[in-house]
Amino acid sequence: MKIAQVLEAMQAGRDMDHPLESVRLYYDLMARYYARIEEAERTHHRPLVILGIYTPIELFYAMDIVPCHAELHAMNAACLGGCQGYFDTAAAYGTPIEACSIQRAMIGMAKGGLLPTPDFIVSAAGVCDSEVKSLEVLVKHFGCPYFLTDMPYQGDPAGVAYYLKELEALVPFLESQTGRPLDWGRLEETVELSRQAAVLYRQVNEARKACPSPMRNQDFFNMCTVYAMMAGTQEAVDYFEVVAREVREQVEGKRPPLRPQERFRLSCAFCFPAFSPELLNWMEQEHGAAIAIDLVNYWRGEEEMDARRPLESLAKKAFYLPLAMPFIGPVENWSRSVIEMGRGYSLDGSIFFAPVTCKEGCATIRILKDRMREEAGIPTLVADCDMIDPSVVSEEELKGKLEGFFETLEAR
């Protein structure tokens, strides 16, 4: 699936009737994001970068570089149009079938000529092996310049100082690629916009503590996607303002109930099978099971960005960003998040959708499950699956597994 096709799908999503403004806005933002990539590829007026999702996006917006998160794009394309073709192409190239399915889809898309040709690639090492290796395959494929920021294992003072130097070295690389110096004032503005979005994001999370949950299950992943792809833009701030208003109104009873009855409050302790948004809807409508909070949106701690120290703020944020923090460094980060979510959101249970090709994620299951039970008294369901490939475990099979879990929760 080419960029233009995903763009069309996002535009179609935007033009549909949605009960929530935030959903229409989400599709609008995604359409704009894809339109920028499509335009950059077509006109070459602005440089196009393929970016690993853990690289601070604000820097790129500040330099008017158009980002394309190839992994997220692969996820979107696979969920919209199927993934087997991409997997086959990746396997023919030599990528092992045991490698992360998202990365395999991305490699398959690149080898199949479905990714836009970037001017350069930037990624961050340290979060997962598969991501870094796969981006190297893309570098080789496109034969373009590459910059890898080396994220250390922990965001302790030495780690942040080290990563700050990495970002300081990234700046001249970007300047040489774009032929323009970084406008530090512009960077401060983007960091400030990112901060504003994060403040609103945290407000949303605070509101999600309410019972019943003020957010539909099918919407939570939109937030982390918007922040990953657009932090540092006014568009992202506008989006989070709308979400914050909607959840506030929901809590205040100014909107109709989102589900017949809230019977279970759950967390998503990792990702969810993106190929089946319907599953989340089904949980909610059929079983009153609300995803009250989830790992990829959960901001732990109070740390805030400071636009007066933009690069330092970005270096620090790289370690506490919800999409990165649990996966970097020791499992302690992840454990503390799930336990805090369990206690803070009055959960009945937690679900760990375990993507069977993700080593980094699945190897934490035992510790997370044990600690969640011991320290928060909350049971965890582990449901093997794939994020984009329904042939691994189907939606029906997942429903069966979830129903069993709901029965156990009911009996408690």
Binding site: G94, V137, T364
Partner: protein
């Protein structure tokens, strides 16, 4: 001597237990980026933690069945109690599997001291500085655990002992450059594996004896004409049967780019200056593993070995579920294309199961090389 060294690895738990019985703390390490010199300087005895064949039922339940079988087999061995004598367990955030294994090991096995070293992915000045800080913390924590300050002098002595091992092993590899090497690849692996277990002083003495006997010996084990000079590339390999199979089928393994092979010993630590800085420098800038960047450095080293040892064929072994080496193979193959040396990927499980199927594939590979 070769048999004696082979027995060391076969009886590794007894050998290490005997050291522990003498009152010396035994420290298990998990990755060749752990500077054993610091452990040695602490008056402790470092050994590599490995698994054995067989099922990994318990480890699968604590890690996950998609984790590489080396990590699971090592954990299984821990759960079996084979490593109960360990006073410490030291890992590095080398790969996702090892860092997660470290966490499970630390939580569920009662090893008194555990530590994970944070290794940068690059080897520039800043990275060396950062890693030197890491080593300094490790030195302090380990010293506190063993109740002994780890002095610079002790570090320097340890560096000398370890450099001696490296020199001797390089001499051993030098012999393999001959048209008909005096020792098989499988035997070399047995020798290397013993070095992961024995105290290095004792190991060095044995290596010296071995080398003098080999230097005066005519070429022997890989008999026969027309043997294909093979190199084995990949991750952790501690099973000499693997190489024996290759050699029984008509190859002679003359060199490697393996975790327990050249990457373990190829580069010396500088003896001058601050020892911790020298260790940080050596360990970061040594022959890199597939997790280090830029990949070009690793590829250049591999190409050099291929040329120096006149390699005619390459077996690239990757453990199933190892993203680092599995995903690396197409890149590796592309990087050696210009040398015209064929390479074959053999994905394997840590246990020797599947050797039969492997034989057929190796035979077919040899046939293509021979044309």
């Amino acid at each position: 001597m070769t048999q004696e060294l082979k027995d060391v690895f076969s009886n590794r738990h007894q050998v290490a237990q005997a050291v522990a019985n003498q009152g010396k703390p035994v420290m298990g390490w998990m990755c060749t980026y752990v500077p054993e010199e610091i452990i040695h300087a602490a008056g402790a005895h470092p050994i590599r933690v490995v698994g054995t064949g067989g099922t990994t039922t318990t480890a699968d339940a604590y890690l996950y069945s998609n984790v590489c079988s080396y990590a699971r087999a090592s954990l299984e061995e821990g759960f079996r109690g084979s490593y109960d004598f360990l006073s410490g367990y030291i890992a590095v955030n080398t790969c996702d599997n090892v860092r997660r294994l470290y966490e499970v090991w630390s939580r569920y096995l009662n090893t008194p001291f555990t530590h994970i070293l944070k290794l940068p992915h690059r080897a520039d000045e800043e990275a060396v500085e950062y890693f030197a800080g890491e080593l300094s913390d490790f030195r302090e924590r380990l010293g506190a655990h063993v109740g002994k300050e780890i002095s610079d002098d002790a570090l320097r002595q340890a560096i000398e002992v370890y450099n001696r091992t490296r020199t001797l092993l390089r001499q051993l590899y030098e012999l393999r450059k001959a048209d008909t090497p005096p020792i098989s690849g499988a035997e070399v692996m047995d020798i290397l594996l013993a070095g992961l277990i024995l105290p290095k002083e004792e190991y060095n003495r044995k290596l010296e004896l071995l080398l003098s006997s080999l230097q005066s010996k005519a070429a022997s084990p890989p008999k026969g004409e027309d043997r294909i000079r093979m190199m084995v590339v990949g991750s952790e390999l501690d099973n000499s049967e693997y190489l024996r199979t290759i050699e029984e089928l008509g190859g002679v393994v003359v060199c490697d780019d393996l975790c327990n092979g050249t990457r373990y010993f190829w580069d010396d630590v500088k003896v001058n200056g601050d020892p911790l800085q020298a260790l940080a420098n050596r360990y970061l800038r040594r022959s890199p593993c597939a997790r280090m960047r830029p990949t070009s450095e690793r590829m250049a080293r591999s190409r050099q070995l291929i040329q120096d040892f006149r390699v005619e064929g390459i077996i690239y072994e990757a453990l199933k579920f190892c993203d680092l080496y599995g995903e690396d193979f197409p890149l590796f193959k592309d990087n050696i294309k210009e040398l015209g040396v064929p390479a074959m990927l053999l994905t394997r499980d840590y246990s020797v199961a599947g050797l039969g199927q492997m034989k057929t594939r190796i035979q077919a590979f040899f046939e293509t090389i021979r044309g």
